[in-house]
Amino acid sequence: MKILLIDDSKTMRNIQKSVLKQLGYTEIEEACDGQDALSKVGAFQPDLCLVDWNMPVMDGLTFVKNFRQNDKNTPLIMVTTEAEKSRVIEAIKAGVNNYVVKPFTPDLLSERITETLAKCSIGS
């Protein structure tokens, strides 16, 4: 399972990476913004992306929209501080499969990842 972490904060990437490693995922690639992520998806071919919303250069929502133009299936989880309902709906409309609000606990992130992968696997 290949997972792409997209977040401008190295600390947040480390936290997410630590949770993913505990879950047994070791093939992890990192990107510091949406544009960086788009440049990496071709070569890395992720099976799951964890995307922050607020990032410089290209934000998470723009990344999701761009990504979904070519890939409708790869699960995307938005991991953000944007907790308003309207924002959540906006993200889902853009193509995210699940939503995690910061601050999150490792257990919550782990739960959402497992849940999303299970849903997408049934869907496909």
Binding site: S9, T11, M12, N14, I15, K102, P103, P106
Partner: protein, 530 residues
């Protein structure tokens, strides 16, 4: 050529021709391979030609195919030239037998080079003056042979190539001039040159089946797991590193060493040398290490005495007569019931039984019982790391609490910053948990592998110092008589002296001391009892 071979009597003799039967005779060598035709002086050679001679030889049962007609012609020519002389010529030659070749073992270049080097070494040592013993070589001089490090033995490891075998060949029978078979001898397989310590593969490559010392002669090539040195370990032998057992009938001289994977037995004195074994060491006499000689043994040590020696014995140690001015660390039990410990420092992890400690002259002698230094060093370092981590956790917690309290409604970046702090705190906690687990394991090991019990059969003399985990005991006056000093898992050290068990402080000065950690079983965290 004759259509039919004529017998001598069938050869027609006209008037004036010679009588061949009287004139000619043959002889052969011992194996009848060569036939020589002898011709007596003749008046006339009329009727004497190659055909007649050939017929004569055939009549004497010489095989026609072995007759050399050219030789017969030369003989006729000689007779013609000097008929009144006797003549003799080899005129027939059989086929000698070709014997087979025996199997040959050719040592590999590497083994041969080592043997050559050892030979040169022996010659070089012989040529040295006995008045001027060999000195340690100058390490910068490439031409100087280091006689310390060059071993006088070829040591091989299991699987090393030793030699190549050239197989034996069969012989080819020969035939003498009369047609009799000369039996050839087949080459010997020479299998007995090797024993089971050397294997030969299908290509003739001989490899070591075991590790050990190689002995190679034309008649025998074998490997022994036991290296026996008849004399001393000195310049004749070099420093020894051996994968099996080593027995030295002599001693070990200054600056030489023996490192063996199996047992080491030395019958005479070990001087300032290095002795290391992965199993047991037996010193029939003892070791006078001159303060730098070392002994390291993974198994047990048995020695008559140790003097000015540094030693680590992972197993038990049995000393018969004395340990003098030495630094000895025994991880097992020390059995020195007849031995005196005088001067120096002796550490014992388990029970020690000794005859006496110190001397009536007041030689300062230190003994530590129930201590395991290496484990304690690790335990202390774990303690230090734990303390540092605890400080970091405390500081990070305070920082996080202050930060949270100062923010009413956190921004996205503040939320992330707080998550980062949480993450860091969890990392510290996880490391601390691991350290605590390691600490627990070390404590258990320390507890299981140490026994705080000292039995002294004769006396503990003044100026002796005894370390027990958590305590330093100073003996200010001689304590003559049998005594048993013990330290329970809790409480003070006690002594049983002249049948009475009392606190050790009644006979010696007992001070709390952190030199050696005291592990209190079931204590929540590792702390020194002192």
């Amino acid at each position: 050529m004759l259509d039919r071979v004529l017998k001598p009597h069938e050869i027609p003799l006209s008037h004036g021709t010679c009588d061949l039967d009287h004139l000619l005779s043959i002889s052969t060598d011992s194996s009848s391979i060569r036939c020589t035709l002898h011709v007596a002086p003749v008046e006339s050679i009329k009727g004497l030609d190659v055909t007649a001679l050939e017929a004569f030889l055939i009549g004497r049962d010489i095989l026609a195919r072995f007759i050399d007609r050219a030789a017969l012609q030369r003989l006729i020519d000689d007779i013609t030239e000097t008929p009144k002389q006797e003549h003799a010529m080899t005129v027939a030659q059989g086929e000698p037998a070709k014997n087979g070749t025996s199997a040959i073992y050719t040592l590999t270049d590497s083994i041969q080079e080592q043997l050559d080097a050892i030979k040169k070494r022996k010659e070089a040592i012989k040529s040295e003056s006995t008045d001027a013993p060999l000195k340690s070589p100058d390490p910068d001089d490439a031409d100087v042979v280091n006689f310390y490090d060059q071993m006088a033995f070829v040591v091989v490891k299991k699987g090393d190539p030793i030699a190549y075998k050239t197989e034996s060949s069969m012989g080819t029978d020969g035939c003498d001039v009369f047609g009799a078979t000369i039996a050839a001898i087949d080459g010997k397989s020479n299998d007995d040159v090797l024993d089971q310590t050397i294997r030969v593969d299908g290509n003739g490559l001989c490899t070591a089946a075991i590790s050990g010392v190689l002995s190679a002669s034309p008649l025998k090539i074998s490997i022994s797991e036991n290296l026996e040195i008849k004399g001393d370990v000195d310049f004749q032998t070099g420093r020894i590193t051996f994968p099996g057992s080593v027995t030295v009938n002599g001693g070990v001289k200054d600056h030489f060493s023996i490192c063996a994977d199996h047992d080491i037995t030395i019958h005479a004195l070990v001087e300032c040398a290095k002795i290391e074994s992965l199993r047991d060491i037996t010193l029939s006499r003892g070791m006078a290490g001159k303060d730098t000689g070392t002994i390291h043994c993974v198994g047990d040590l048995s020695a008559r005495y140790l003097e000015s020696t540094i030693g680590v014995i992972i197993g038990n140690a049995q000393i018969q007569s004395e340990i003098t001015n030495s630094s000895i660390n025994v991880r097992g039990k020390l059995n020195a019931e007849q031995a005196v410990i005088r001067g120096g420092k002796v550490l014992v992890s388990k029970e020690a039984v000794v005859n006496s400690i110190g001397s009536p002259q007041g030689v300062e002698t230190t003994i530590a019982i129930g201590v395991l230094e290496e484990l304690e060093v690790e335990l202390r370092s774990i303690d230090e790391l734990s303390a540092k981590l605890e400080t970091q956790i405390k500081s990070m917690t305070t920082k996080k609490e202050t930060y949270s309290a100062s923010i009413a409604k956190p921004t996205a970046s503040q939320i992330e910053e707080m998550m980062g702090m949480d993450f860091e705190l969890q990392e510290y906690q996880s490391r601390l948990t691991k350290l605590n687990d390691a600490c627990k394991i070390h404590r258990e090991l320390l507890s299981k592998n140490t026994t705080q019990r000292l039995v002294v059969n004769k006396a503990i003399y003044a100026k002796s110092i005894l370390f027990l985990p958590g305590f330093r005991v100073e003996f200010k006056q001689d304590l003559v008589g049998e005594s048993i000093i013990e330290l329970g898992s809790v409480g003070q050290p006690s002594i049983t002296f002249r049948g009475q068990t009392v606190p050790l402080s009644e006979h010696a000065r007992v001070l709390p001391d952190e030199t050696y950690l005291r592990v209190i079983e079931d204590a929540p965290a590792q702390k020194t009892a002192a």
